[in-house]
């Protein structure tokens, strides 16, 4: 009767969420690294870099993630032959990570850029006045303060990324939404139970995550 007391079903559920966890962790890492770099580009004195950053944000922020993930699969993998792993499922995972990271990086970039605007211009001026280069000023003075100012919005972006990770199911990874579909297909009598367990798992993990970021944002806030 109980769908999740069946060992095979439980395995489908656990495997599905393990994929989501991995997609979230690796995707977040990629998105934050690329996003920070893009933000640095967008405030740099070099026009080509500024243009590159702006183009990235405009392209990826305004394209549906589903299309980007499809492109990773059909464009990068099928057509261009980009292969990350011989294991098909692992390859799909990495294609998904690429899609999630390049997409989310656009949002991370804009969050950090707005954070940079909260840092008073005098901070960068003082850094330049003691002889720091543009790069030192950015990495030691401006970005650390900007980063602390945007912990809360970055938390929202990370939570969105975690939920968006279910889209990787469309290119054949057995993550949670595919797992849910499979369980519903074979256990039609328990649709509500299955749905609430899957949705509940997201909620149980993400609600405390949101509060955690709120707490961290307060703790790390730069006092002026």
């Amino acid at each position: 009767m109980d769908v999740f007391s069946d060992a095979d079903n439980l395995d489908v559920y656990v495997t599905g969420f393990l994929w989501i966890l991995k997609l979230t962790l690796v995707g977040t890492l990629g998105a934050v690294v690329i996003g920070t770099l893009l933000a640095a580009f967008r405030v740099s004195p070099i026009p080509v870099l500024r243009g590159f950053g702006a183009a990235w944000v405009n392209i990826f922020r305004n394209t549906p993630l589903t299309l980007i993930v499809f492109f990773c699969y059909f464009g990068l993998y099928s057509t261009l032959g980009v292969v990350f792993s011989d294991d098909l499922e692992l390859n799909n995972f990495w294609l998904g990570v690429v899609g999630l990271a390049v997409y989310t990086a656009a949002f991370v970039c804009e969050a950090i850029r707005s954070g940079i605007n909260t840092v008073p211009p005098g901070q960068a001026e003082a850094a330049r006045a003691i002889g720091m280069t543009f790069r030192q000023t950015l990495t030691m003075i401006v970005l650390p303060q900007a980063g602390r100012a945007v912990i809360a919005p970055l938390g929202s972006i990370l939570i969105a990324l975690c939920k968006n990770a279910t889209i990787i199911g469309t290119i054949g990874l057995m993550e949670s939404s595919n797992a849910m579909k499979e369980l519903i297909n074979s256990n039609g009598q328990a649709v509500f139970q299955i749905f609430f367990v899957f949705a509940g798992t997201f909620a149980v993990v993400l609600i405390p995550t949101g509060y955690g970021f709120g707490w961290l944002a307060n703790k790390m806030a730069v006092k002026r």
Binding site: P120, G122, Q123, E125, A126, A127, R128, A129, I130, G131, M132, T133, Q136, M140, I141, P144, Q145, R148, V222, K223, R224
Partner: protein, 247 residues
């Protein structure tokens, strides 16, 4: 004279759009000299001060520091700035760093000096400006006067050849002005080359070698303080002094 001069400005012009903020300024500051720049607000004195380490690029003319013209941009400009200490009106201490880190950052990151040695020097400087016991606090936990004294220590930690002060006491509560001026006066006595933009006429009188009076972007008059305050030559300086000294 020109052999001795550390800072030389020749025919310096600066426009902010249509506004002519520096109008053909010529000035030189000798080693060890303390020059106080005064004048009504909007006269260009802050811009002049900021032009000396190129925080404000000039439109035309030349500025020479220690015998070399100011570099355009990049590493050589950064190196020049590391030799010129600057103190701002709004302190601008790094808000996410402790007091000690603020003072150590320049020598360690810009000069690549050993943190152990810098720490000793930084603590000595903080003791000197009377903040040694607050070294582990963050800027926001200090009063304005204390923050400005830390800012002076931060600039001194780079062992600069000259110090620029851009209205260092204008953002302070009156009771804190004295503690900052005391530090500046002792620096002046020790022979530091200083360019000080200020409204503190008392400081100009007792610490300056020379007073420079600016109005409308022009360097109108310069003289030793006793001479300038007792006997200003230009009408604009007379007018300015009558407005501030009658109260």
């Amino acid at each position: 004279m020109s052999d001795e001069a550390l800072i030389v400005l020749e025919n310096v012009n600066k426009w902010f759009g249509p506004l002519h903020v520096l109008d053909d300024v010529n000035m030189s500051v000798a080693r060890g000299e303390v020059v106080v720049v005064i004048g009504p607000s909007g006269s260009g004195k802050s811009t002049l001060c900021r032009a000396i380490n190129r925080l404000e690029p000039i439109s035309s003319g030349t500025i020479t520091f220690d015998g070399k013209p100011l570099p355009e941009e990049g590493k050589s400009l950064a190196r020049l700035r590391s030799e010129v200490g600057m103190v701002f009106q709004s302190f601008n201490l790094f808000a996410h760093k402790t007091i000690l880190q603020n003072v150590m950052l320049g020598p360690v990151k810009v000069r690549k000096e050993k943190p152990v040695e810098v720490r000793e020097r930084a603590m000595a400087l903080l003791d000197r400006v009377g903040i040694g016991n607050q070294a582990e606090k963050f800027p926001a936990q200090l009063s304005g006067g204390q923050q400005q004294r830390v800012a002076i220590a931060r600039a001194l930690a780079m062992q600069p050849k000259a110090m620029l002060f851009d209205e260092p006491t204008s953002a302070l509560d009156p009771e804190m002005v004295g503690e900052v001026l005391d530090v500046m006066t002792s620096l002046a006595r020790e022979g530091m080359t200083m360019v000080v933009v200020t409204h503190e006429m008392g400081f100009a009188r007792h610490a300056a070698n020379r007073v420079v009076f600016m109005a409308d972007g022009q360097l109108v008059e310069e003289a030793p303080p006793t001479e300038f305050f007792a006997n200003p030559k230009s009408d604009r300086a007379k007018d300015f002094l009558s407005k501030i000294l009658t109260h």
